[in-house]
């Protein structure tokens, strides 16, 4: 069934239980494949990262839409759950990937900001999500927050996960955390834009739960919307090549997450503060994620950092007088 409103958390729970009951009879879910393109691929990453970190029984991986279509993994089939996201609902590669998944006998969840999205044609479960990053009231039903819940539901059913209640409580806290952080950074975004409006390149650096936020800020906000050269460097990879481009003129946005990977982020930050000096920090801890509790704060770090990353991008758009909607190619020409 297609829902016109955003899916509720109770409906997510019910859908995952139904999927569990259906697939349990044929050996259970062995793989979760996260499939999308660009920002909509990245927004599924919180699910991959959570399952990779906490599940003993389910393996997860992300694949860009067209690679899934042309070269789907051999093992994708009836024991697979394929989660596809297209914010607009019509991304051709993701729609084709949904078809590939469906024909292979996988269970398919399609997620979109539009109820009548073409993507939903091949979905067994069709989820309507919020795509409004800056709306506090609905951010708990924003795509990447919904797939986090999806992950926690799987962990409860398959892995007897100890911190499910803490995680559900954290999801309830999302709107209030969001509201606070938007207020907290409101005076920082335009100065960021002013300081970077003449830059030809801005790198992002991230790891662990914030990797997707760094990737999206790079490819969607800087490259796509602001036409600024960029690349997202994994904080752990920084010292194995990329750091050699650091000089006192090259700007970096460094994401700090709470949890196990923070040590990598801090190491990258320390180096860049010394050798670049043009470093902007987006820190989930400073943005208040720790109120959700020590066992799950790591997994919520990325979805909070993403809000800040987006707001800084907007600040750049204002300072450059280059609105987000301006495109050279997307939707303008055939490709």
């Amino acid at each position: 069934m297609t829902r016109s409103q955003h899916i509720t958390h109770a409906e997510v729970t019910a859908d995952i239980e139904a999927i569990y009951n259906k697939i349990e009879k044929i050996g259970g879910i062995k793989d979760v494949f996260c499939v999308g393109c660009g920002g909509s691929l990245a927004n599924l990453y919180p699910l991959e990262y959570l399952l990779r970190s906490e599940s003993k029984s389910i393996h997860a991986e992300s694949i860009t839409g067209n690679e899934f279509v042309y070269d789907a993994p051999e093992r994708m089939g009836k024991n697979s759950l394929v989660v596809l996201l297209s914010a607009t609902g019509g991304t051709p590669e993701t729609c084709a990937a949904a078809k590939t998944a469906k024909s292979a006998g996988a269970t398919v969840i399609t997620i979109s900001g539009k109820a009548d999205a073409p993507l939903h044609e091949n979905g067994d479960y069709k989820w309507n999500c919020s795509v409004d990053i800056l709306d506090s009231e609905t951010y708990d039903r924003y795509n990447s927050c919904l797939v986090l819940q999806l992950g926690f539901e799987l962990l409860r059913l398959y892995d007897d996960y100890s911190y499910y209640d803490e995680a559900m409580n954290a999801i309830d806290l999302i709107p209030q955390m969001h509201k606070k952080l938007v207020r907290q950074i409101s005076q920082r975004t335009i100065p960021f834009g002013e300081a970077h409006k003449a830059d030809k390149v801005i790198y992002t650096v991230a790891s662990g739960p914030s990797l997707f936020a760094g990737y999206m800020q790079s490819i969607c906000l800087f490259m796509e919307m602001e036409w600024v050269n960029s690349f997202c460097i994994h904080a752990g990879e920084m010292f194995h090549g990329p750091f050699e481009v650091a000089d006192n003129n090259t700007p970096f946005v460094v994401f700090l997450s709470n949890g196990r990977t923070r040590i990598m982020d801090e190491r990258a930050l320390k180096f860049l503060e010394r050798y670049s000096g043009r470093v902007t920090v987006i820190d989930s801890n400073e943005l208040g994620v720790s109120i959700v509790g020590p066992n799950v704060e790591e997994y919520f770090s990325g979805v909070l950092n993403w809000v800040a990353a987006y707001a800084y991008g907007k600040g750049l758009a204002v300072a450059k007088d280059h609105p987000f909607g301006e495109r050279r190619y997307m939707g303008q020409i055939e490709y």
Binding site: G38, I233, R328
Partner: protein, 333 residues
């Protein structure tokens, strides 16, 4: 003390390792293979990740940079997992730590490096010594690790194309030598035209995505101090392509095989909107001489030879040799 004579691991010895693994895990006992290393060595283990991820019917595969593997270790790393790690000299601290972490959790660990005795070798269960320069291509890490990947599929899953994969190694040196020779002149031409660029993007997909990644982070950013970015050809149209313009250069790696359509689409678009598109096409360098059932998994071998020649020649033209560093091994970090 006598100097140890270095001998590279042979295919027979790699097969022997897999024989032992097969006995160790038993039927259905090997559930996951993890690939973990840093920078260029992460690119080094990637060709095997690609084989397992794409072709295995039951074995799952993940590739993770070493320090993330250490600090945010996947929950499935246990006695049912195999961990493959690489460090060229065998001394990368994060990679050694990853091998140790994997061992603590009960996984079996294969390490690869260019010398037989080092901290990496000591941290793992099996060690593969590979050649880097001045050896046939068939003795490099790429060749040995791809052999290892196919051998695992053969022994654990009775891989239907195992014979074809094995035969590919008979013509590998010939194809790679020829690719090296044939790319020398276009590489010089590229270097002359692009030696003053401050920014060079690298686009790749499928089996060559990590060649593109390594070209970007090691050969351009690290060795030549050129701003760069790696773009997956499938992701190009979902953001990155908006930076394409006249005078913005892109190196595009093209594979033969199932993902070629993605690469062709990227080339077609970029050539229309940028006048600086450098195409390195595995088909032009002989990938189609391999059997079509397995040729896909040899793209990265050919393109790594060609791409390295291009960037190393760029370094010569820039008078900025590959060995220059500002920070690596020079400052504390």
């Amino acid at each position: 003390m006598s100097k140890t004579v270095k001998t590279n691991t042979t295919y027979k010895e790699v097969t022997d390792i897999v024989n032992e693994l097969h006995k160790h895990y038993g039927a259905g006992g090997l559930k996951q293979v993890y690939f973990t290393a840093c920078g260029g060595s992460l690119g080094g283990v990637a060709p095997m990740h690609c084989i397992i991820e794409s072709e295995a019917k039951s074995i799952q595969a993940s590739i993770i940079t070493a320090n993330e593997f250490v600090h945010a270790t996947p929950k499935q790393v246990d006695s049912n997992a195999l961990v493959v790690t690489m460090s060229s000299k065998g001394g990368t601290p994060e990679t050694i730590a990853a091998a140790k972490r994997a061992k603590e959790l009960g996984a079996t660990v294969i390490t690869l490096s260019t010398n037989p005795h080092n901290s990496m070798e000591a941290a793992g269960d099996y060690h593969i010594t590979y050649g880097f320069k001045d050896c046939p291509y068939s003795q490099t890490s790429n060749a040995l690790i791809v052999w290892l990947g196919f051998e695992i599929l053969k022994q654990f899953e009775n891989y239907e194309h195992a014979d074809k994969a094995e035969s590919a190694f008979d013509i590998l040196d010939d194809i790679c030598d020829k690719a090296f020779a044939d790319s020398a002149e276009p590489a010089r031409d590229f270097a002359e035209h692009y030696k003053d660029e401050e920014q060079l993007y690298v686009v790749g997909s499928g089996n060559s995505s990590f060649v593109a990644y390594t070209t970007c982070i090691c050969h351009l950013m690290e060795m030549e101090w050129i701003h760069s970015g790696y773009i997956n050809a499938g992701e190009l149209f979902h953001g990155p392509f908006e930076v394409a313009q006249p005078n913005v250069p892109f190196i595009v790696l093209m594979n033969g095989g199932p993902t070629r359509k993605m690469d062709e689409r990227a080339v077609k678009f970029l050539k229309k909107y940028s006048n600086k598109v450098i195409v390195l096409d595995a088909c032009e360098y002989g990938v189609e001489r391999f059997d079509p059932a397995i040729s896909e998994f040899f793209n990265s071998m050919i393109l790594s030879v060609v791409a390295r020649q291009y960037t190393e020649t760029l370094g010569v033209a820039k008078k900025h040799p590959f060995g220059y560093r500002r920070y690596m091994f020079k400052v504390a970090y």
